[in-house]
């Protein structure tokens, strides 16, 4: 049997299992709290696994291993921002959000503000951030199937995007948060087991001598000791000082963006209490941290055992480094059959990863559409719970369909920058609004709206005039050149702009409500009046 057939079979097993879970979840998803928040009945460990499942995208599994395999240390540098970011979520956001919100990010922002403008802004930002992230994942899925299953025709890629999109729609429309969370949990376990297994095999080959592994990786990469230091991908010598500022800008967006990502934030609502939200982030930090340490070994292992040249020849971005490494260690340890099996397993895990992440994003954006835009902006709070859930399901279908269409259109473009752009928008618009809401007494409607739009628009404008969109061979539109700014990552400017807009908007408006601030402050820190688990 070829590895393609075996991959497909394993992947179909995953799909069958997750569809069964979705069917079960759909029978237990009746109320709005079930659909949006899984009945708030997940345990800290379950939600911690789901946080890992939501967060460890194919971009971080295949992408970071690939960057390390081709450019060495820079891939590791990238993963550290993704991890440290969780401390912002743990210390400042997770518990307070669980105590004061209900279903979406906007619940916390609209708590003491005029609800319509704030929910409109938060809804727009949620949908924009989620669609960017979604597009990057789905276009990636199309490219990945070509690499892993040997499907290289455009039609094959389009059908893959459609299949991924349809599955994601089914998970969300029928399973809601309950089904989606279980998909994340299954995927997180598969991914951790798969990555740990390959890591163990790699380390065993080097007699558990990390220094020896690094030495071989540096030698095989053809770049020597530079391979073990920063600077081959981000802020290269050729890019000069701007390149290094760009690296800092990326680091800022990564570390501050996570706690503003809507699909991350809604995870905190799926547990019964703030204390469980804390536990789930602690589990999440443990799982994500270990995972990135595993990818460090996978990336350098791929460079050492497969060789950077072979990896670059298979895919310019190095996305097949982890699968090729799996095949290589399998072959070395267990012969050809072993290689085929391990490659197939890792390929199936990669697909499961994509599916779980896109489902989380679709859920976040459809929840925000139904709860923020439909129920509170269009219907001014007159919609019934049942109507809201129906609208959320329809929205999931429509957003899924739009994402499929956009991904097919964008599949020949280089849209990998959309992931870091999503982090930049989340850090520039959402995070200031959330932090000011929770901690600043004077904050008001004008401030919230200014922070979100100010951060969102400044990040978008900076990126449109950056080398990732035009003026470089790797740009989204390589044939045009209207770039004005030498930075690919807008964070270093757009994050301060977002915070400043929130500050100015606040002090320029007279609105101020002390009793509502007392309510959010007391609720967020004590849990008095917090939403209870519905309990099945």
């Amino acid at each position: 049997m070829s590895h393609e057939t075996l991959s497909t079979i394993l992947f179909l097993v995953f799909v069958a299992l997750t569809l069964a879970i979705t069917f079960w979840a759909s029978r237990n998803t009746k109320s709005a709290a079930d659909f949006y928040a899984g009945g708030r009945s997940f345990s800290g460990l379950q939600n911690g696994l789901a946080i890992g499942g939501d967060y460890m995208s194919a971009a971080s599994f295949l992408g970071i291993a690939g960057i390390i395999a081709l450019s060495g240390y820079d891939g590791f540098l990238y993963s550290i921002g993704f991890l440290v970011a969780w401390l912002v979520a743990l210390l400042l956001v997770a518990e307070l959000m669980r105590n004061s919100g209900k279903y979406t990010m906007a619940d916390v922002l609209a708590f003491r503000m005029s609800p319509r403008p704030v929910r409109t802004a938060a809804g727009v930002s949620t949908i924009v951030v989620s669609i960017f992230y979604l597009l990057a994942q789905m276009v990636g899925a199309g490219a990945l199937v070509g690499l892993l299953l040997g499907v290289h025709s455009d039609a094959g890629k389009i059908w893959t995007i459609i299949a991924v999109g349809l599955l994601m729609i089914i998970y969300v429309v029928f399973g809601g948060m309950k089904g989606t969370t279980w998909v994340q949990i299954v995927k997180a376990v598969m991914l951790m087991v798969g990555a740990a297994l390959i890591t163990l095999f790699v380390l065993a080959k080097f007699g558990f001598n990390l220094s020896g592994l690094l030495g071989d990786a540096a030698a095989q990469s053809g770049k020597g000791d530079a391979f073990l230091n920063a600077g081959l991908k981000y802020g290269t010598a050729a890019q000069g000082t701007w390149g290094k500022i760009d690296l800092i800008s990326l680091g800022l967006a990564l570390v501050l963006g996570t706690a503003g990502l809507p699909h991350v934030l809604i995870r905190f609502y799926t547990v019964p209490t703030a204390r469980d939200a804390r536990k789930s982030v602690l589990w999440g930090i443990g799982i994500i941290g270990v995972f990135y340490l595993l990818t460090l070994v996978l990336g350098f292992g791929a460079a050492a055992l497969v060789g950077s040249k072979t990896i670059a020849a298979a895919d310019k971005a190095g996305n097949t480094a982890a699968p090729l490494l799996a095949q290589k260690v399998g072959q070395d340890l267990f012969g050809d059959v072993g290689g085929t099996v391990l490659l197939a397993v890792i390929a199936a895990v990669a697909f499961a990863t994509i599916l779980a992440v896109v489902a989380g994003l679709t859920l976040a954006s459809s929840s925000s559409f139904a709860h923020d835009l439909y129920a509170h902006v269009f219907r001014r709070g007159t919609a019934t719970e049942r109507q809201e859930v129906v609208v959320a399901r329809v929205a999931a279908f429509v957003i899924g369909a739009v994402a499929i269409a956009l991904s097919i259109f964008a599949q020949s473009l280089n849209v990998a920058f959309l992931v870091s752009l999503a982090f930049a928008v989340a850090a520039s618009g959402n995070l200031p609004a959330i932090l000011y809401s929770l901690f600043w007494k004077r904050f008001n409607t004008a401030g919230a709206v200014s922070a979100i739009y100010g951060g969102l628009v400044s990040a978008l404008v900076l990126v449109i005039f950056s080398p990732v969109v035009s003026g470089a061979p790797t740009a989204m539109i390589p044939d045009a050149d209207f770039h004005l700014i030498p930075l690919s990552n807008p964070g270093i400017f757009s994050i301060p702009i977002g915070f400043l807009c929130g500050y100015l908007g606040t002090i320029l408006s007279k609105e101020y409500n002390a009793s509502k601030y007392a309510e959010i402050e007391v609720r967020s820190l004590t849990g008095i009046g917090a939403e209870q688990a519905t309990g099945h």
Binding site: S211, G286, S515
Partner: protein, 114 residues
């Protein structure tokens, strides 16, 4: 299922000594620690950009400063997360529980009076 409270309930709790202590204990731990880990992380990123010779210094075998510094970011993240959970369990949760229980029993008395 959410109990609706009169807004004045929250203002009364907010003004109380217990809540002020909870707020002080939370903020005096979380805010300085956030600044500390952000500075520590940014130091790492800035050195990765601007001090590559230093980061490339080999410490033992092929293990250089950059790798150790990176792994230390993992270690500090795990330690801070663990320390926060200890701090919260010992210093924050008891006060939050007390305030919640008091409000709950006040609600029950209120319900009975109706």
């Amino acid at each position: 299922m959410t109990v609706q409270h009169d807004p004045s309930v929250y203002e009364r709790i907010q003004a109380g000594e217990q809540f002020q202590e909870l707020r002080r204990r939370y903020r005096s731990w979380a805010f300085p620690m956030t600044i500390a880990f952000l500075v520590w992380y940014l130091l790492y990123v800035v050195l990765s950009g601007f001090a590559r010779d230093f980061m490339g210094t080999k410490l033992f075998g092929n293990i250089n400063v950059a790798l150790v510094f990176g792994v230390l970011q993992f270690v500090s993240t795990f330690l801070i997360a663990w320390a926060y959970s200890r701090h919260a369990a010992a210093k924050l949760d008891p006060i939050a529980d007390e305030l919640r229980d008091e409000t709950k029993s006040a609600d029950e008395v209120g319900e009975g009076a109706k």
